[in-house]
Amino acid sequence: MAGGPAANRIRKAIALVNSVADEAGDEEVTPTEIAEAIRDCLELSEVDEVPNVRRYLGEALDAVSDGMPADFVAMTLYAALGALREGGQN
């Protein structure tokens, strides 16, 4: 399992998105909060060390801006996390 700082931030973003997708939690999570969590990931240089991670995160950010369903945003974030895993960022 990918376990570096980028992976941890992506997981945090996924948790936020999933709480929207699953309609879980007491407080409503806004798209702005999700976008902020994704931008936090993009700030790390680690995301440039493995091909496609930055691009998946960029896709996820675009999906939030475009009002795409939370499941779709989650899928793109999982893809970024998976790319880190395949890239050996453990």
């Binding site: 369903p69 793109t76 999982y78």
Partner: protein, 423 residues
Amino acid sequence: MGSPHRVRALPGGARLVTESMPERHSTSVVFMFAGGSRLEDERLAGVSHFIEHLYFKGTRRRPSSKEIADAIEGVGGFINASTDKELTAYWARVPSEHTELGLDVLFDIVANSRLDPADVERERMVILEELRMYQDQPQDYVQNLFEELIWPGHPLGRDIAGTEESVSRLSRDDILEYADARYRLPNLVIGAAGSLDDDDTLALVSKGLSLREGLDGVLAALPPSPLDGPRVLIRRRETEQAHICLGARAFSYLHPDRYALDLLNTVLGEGMSSRLFLNIRERLGLAYDVHSFTQKHRDTGYLGVYIGVDPKKAVDAVNAAMAELRSLGESEVSADELARAKEFTKGRLRLELETTNGVAFWLTYQEVLLGEIKSIEEELALVDAVTAADVKRVADELLSGTMQMSVIGPFSRDSAFRLAIGA
């Protein structure tokens, strides 16, 4: 298998292949016609499959489907047919003492079917329902979509049953004309395996052979055009699971590397000890169903991977599958893994040839498509001759081709999927 097979020339260019398996109690007979859906143009798409259905509706001697079924089932036998992209097969498996009956019924349906106008209309409705039902089975439908991508604009990329438009339009005259052109002696190979005598079978077959000679209106099988580049095709459906097929064009059944391709496929995704299963399902827990498969035709083929996955994990699973594909091109499979793949492939072939039906199909299929028949020992030797370097070379070659991917699931854009396969 029993004693070696025999191939005999029949009048008009047809051929008979027999294999005596004296220890069995049944005989299987296959009538295989070269042709199938790849010879159909867009207007006639699905006509071969339509004809196959109609041939079970009644003949002059057995005027209804019940009488056809009764003739074979009355002796405990089985009768069925299938249409493929390059052939159409009618077969019966009967207790050996009823071999003559099996042959008689098959001759009857391929030479004397009534093709009654009312049956044509009834069967049209059945086929249209079949096409719609198929679209409701995403695990199968996604493979059809994948084949559309692999062979765009080519008959190989179309459903064997045609399209709703073509099936709705086909007239009885179209069907009669096509059947008359394709169901001719030079296109026919009859295969028989089981408790039979080669010479007796030849005599029975010669007695029943009544199809016409020569070929009129034969359509040439055009090769598919080269692919422009990687593509993703998404059908948006609110399914609980995402269904994904990805892969690339591979080899024909005539290609010398076809055995290496089969072993690569086995290592990659056949069975519960394959890399895709162990890594994507067991280690990563990404997908419930993941496997790979090949399809081979005269001049083309493909290697595909199917993934059934939670939509949220869809792209992640695709990336993981791509990583497995890439790893096969990066380093040779271990001696142990290759040996297991060979035993798997050889074992499956042996199991397939346990039944008289399996042997009859195996022989007839080779004679129709390859024009020659290899023994099982020759086939197994070719599997054994594949090296780890061959598998790596084949993986390299396939990965240098353009990847194609079809997806059915709740997705409204394809950007993340395109990124995964470099489209």
